[in-house]
Amino acid sequence: MKNLRIGAILGALLMVAGACSSTPAAKEGGTLIVALPGDIVRTDTALTDDSNSSYVIQQVVETLVGLEPGSTSKVVPVLAESYEMSADALTYTFKLRSGVKFHDGTDFNADAVVYNYNRFINIPTELQDYTYYIGAVFGGYGANSNLESATAVDGTTVAIKLKKPSSNFILTQTLPVFGIQSPTALALGKGDNTESDVTKITGAQGGAGSMVGTGPFVFDKWTVGDSVEIVKNATYWDTAHIAHVDAIVFKAVAEEAQRLNGLAAGEIDLAQTIAPVDAATIAANPKLQLIDRGSSFNTFQISMNQSYTPMNNQKIREAIAYAINYDYLIKTFYAGAAVKATNWMPAGVLYAKDLSLPSYDVAKAKALIAESGETDLTIDFWYPNDVTRPYMPDPKGIFEAITADLEAVGFTIVPNNAPWRGGYLDDEYAGKYEMWLLGWTGDWAGPDNFLKTAFFGYVNGAPSTEFAYKNDAVEAAMNAALAAGTEAEAKTQWELAQDLIRADMPTVPVANSKPQAAASIDLKGFIGSAGLNEPLNLVWLDRP
């Protein structure tokens, strides 16, 4: 159980007015309108890797273990009443709740869990593009998967066996991706690994067999490009937490301005993400409430690829770190709802320490450039032109400001941009960009999620094409930390990795933001979470 002691340090549980212990009676009924920054991508839990899909799916499909509402690290039982880890840290035995039924009426039991985990192991190659997290958490599929097997010990007991110890196993199983869906529905929706063409998997396309879980809401319909509707599950197993609202409509509203307008006009009850610069407007509107999600759980950085000159020069990277006017960025674009990054992980993630990263110092930056010996100071610099991210509220504006900072110390910037899903992610990952803007929102509260998964872990034993950052000592330290037998050893290894990374300055962390939400003043019972695990069955609408 030791890994479960990951503290609740992060989970500053934030209650919205009215949701405190002396709860006034919640009002039942009504339809909740939630604005998401984009449409969901698919309706099959396993075949998603984006935050919009996860946000919807987590209301419908439940995992074995989950996070306490508002927390990013406190694991609580959900479909599993309890679990045990074997002494060799390879076998986890989950004791399941009994009497739980899937939305299609079939029973939730050990067989269903085994069915789902077997599916995770054996995702067909063609679909592995869509199952990023399964690959990232288990290291691959089939023989390459760290999942050895899942077996039903009895009707309500499941044993999941790993090939090698993984200290983040339980924490990662809280990801909505690992939600348990009805085997009957999976077979119906062709999500049973028999179909390799994702368009024919009806369960992933909003058709038959979509999102059949055990959660407080039932999938109703998906209007692609526009909205997803889910309705209350009146027979939810957790009778204490049956949803208050009758239905939820998740609308894709890409423009922050439109979300703000919709809120102000009463057409939207909850905007999952807002522009930080709108916070003041929202706070000033008596019909609206601003929802703080507590501490930050993301890192925004200026990414660099060391296969390009002068990005391969540590002094240049360090100089860039000194050239950035962090305070200006945080004040202007985050409206203060961010802190200057002190690490590649947000402060508060386990083992994160203050790495005393450079602060704004033009003279120092210029000196470092002079020292670097580089003469060609032209940099290809990229930003995404069609999205905002929680860690990067205004990519274009931030890009313009950073460009101005860099030009002020002598760099020549060649501006570039690309659409997020239409080339940006693809190209930066493929190593086509010299310098670009990107960040990471935590999935689970482990240092590995940031340092390794998100940034600097080797891919297939070699530096990633993305950053081309080669430091074998860092890779070794991170691997050692994950397989560490004791917490002290894990700590040592993680701290070593951080120091090594700091010395290399492979990228420039800029800020950790605190993404805020906004809602109608009528919305009650909402518990915001920096990790966006926000169960909406707790929410009610206080209106006639």
Binding site: T31, I33, V198, D220, G225, A265, E267, P419, R421, G423
Partner: protein
């Protein structure tokens, strides 16, 4: 009449062929490897092979074109590279939204533009005429998105009179059957929702309809002034017809002719304008979809949307011309 229609249809064939060549070329002149250009981040060896196969990239160009043409004619308009959904199905789910918006804008622009034009013509030279001329000048000079933003903030946010986004109150969770909500709500007997749909239509229709409104008002004004000076209008008055009859039957029946042609020409502009309007009003239609497709470099979607819009435009023009012929006996008998 039948022969006239047939002749018009035959005349459309070379245009359609030209259009198909243009769009065929479009997806092939994209810079770089078509697989990279089209599939972007979704390219896997398998997907690439499928795309090459679908486009017939390994065949000689003329064979590629023939196969494109045959596929298009058989209704296979390609698939999204983002979610691999066939174009047609996706298009059809969104098209009702665009029809509704376009119809709303058209009704607004005709419903307001023609009376304004008539009023201006009646008061020609007076301040009312000046005002209407000014308004229509403003109408053609203000971009859809500027007007849209202004309408949203003024009538949606500040005054709170009308909804700012979407096609229907999402809280109603209405199940559309045809997708044209004005019709669906009526058939479902939900008068309250019908009103709600109309309310949602108001601002986008005004934003999208402003340019056609201005153009229609201008042409109506000019046309009515011209017709009002015709001898036959004097004849009609001299016969002691009621002013209303003179206006509706003698003036308008003739003034309609140029107006009809202009209205027809607006349809293309409306479809184009829908792209911007749907973006401003979070309207679930083809326009917003195609903007997403552009942003995602989903070229097959862009290609086929242009094709379908152009075909619609040609059909509408045909209908307008036939309507024109029906209204104008001189043409009918030619």
């Amino acid at each position: 009449m039948g022969r006239y229609i047939v002749r018009r249809l035959i005349a459309a064939i070379p245009v359609l062929i030209g259009l198909s060549i243009l769009l065929f070329a479009y997806i092939r002149i994209l810079p770089g490897d078509p697989c990279v250009a089209i599939l972007g981040q979704h390219r896997t060896p398998a997907a690439c092979a499928a795309l090459r196969e679908h486009l017939g990239l390994d065949l000689p160009l003329w064979q590629q074109y023939i196969s494109y043409l045959l596929k298009t004619l058989s209704g296979d308009l390609g698939s999204s590279v983002v979610n691999s959904q066939p174009f047609l199905g996706e298009f059809l789910t969104r098209f009702p939204g665009t029809i509704e918006l376009t119809a709303g804008a058209l009704i607004f622009s005709i419903g307001v533009g023609i009376p304004l034009g008539r009023l201006a013509a009646r008061k020609v030279g007076g301040w009312v005429d000046g005002l209407i001329t000014g308004v229509s000048l403003f109408g053609v000079s203000i971009p859809v998105f500027v007007l849209g933003l202004a309408l949203v903030v003024i009538f949606g946010v500040i005054l709170g009179w009308l909804p700012t986004q979407g096609r229907i109150d999402a809280r109603a969770r209405f199940d559309a059957t045809s997708g044209i909500l004005l019709i669906d709500t009526l058939f479902a007997g939900r008068l309250d929702l019908f009103v709600d749909v109309v309310r949602h239509l108001v601002l986008p229709s005004i934003a999208l309809g402003s340019i056609p409104l201005a153009i229609i008002a201008r042409i109506t004004r000019a046309s009515v002034i011209e017709v009002a000076n015709e001898d036959y209008v004097r004849t009609a008055r001299s016969k002691g017809l009621k002013e209303k009859t003179v206006d509706n039957r003698h003036v308008m029946r003739n003034a309609w002719l140029p107006v009809t042609t202009v209205v027809g020409l607006q349809i293309g502009g409306l479809l184009g304008g829908a792209v911007l309007t749907e973006t401003v009003f979070v309207w679930n239609g083809v326009g917003r979809w195609v903007v997403d497709a552009i942003q995602n470099h989903d070229y097959p979607i862009v290609q086929s949307t242009i094709l379908v819009f152009a075909v619609i435009f040609l059909i509408v023009n045909l209908i307008v011309d036939v309507g024109y012929a029906l209204l104008n006996p001189k043409i009918r008998y030619q």
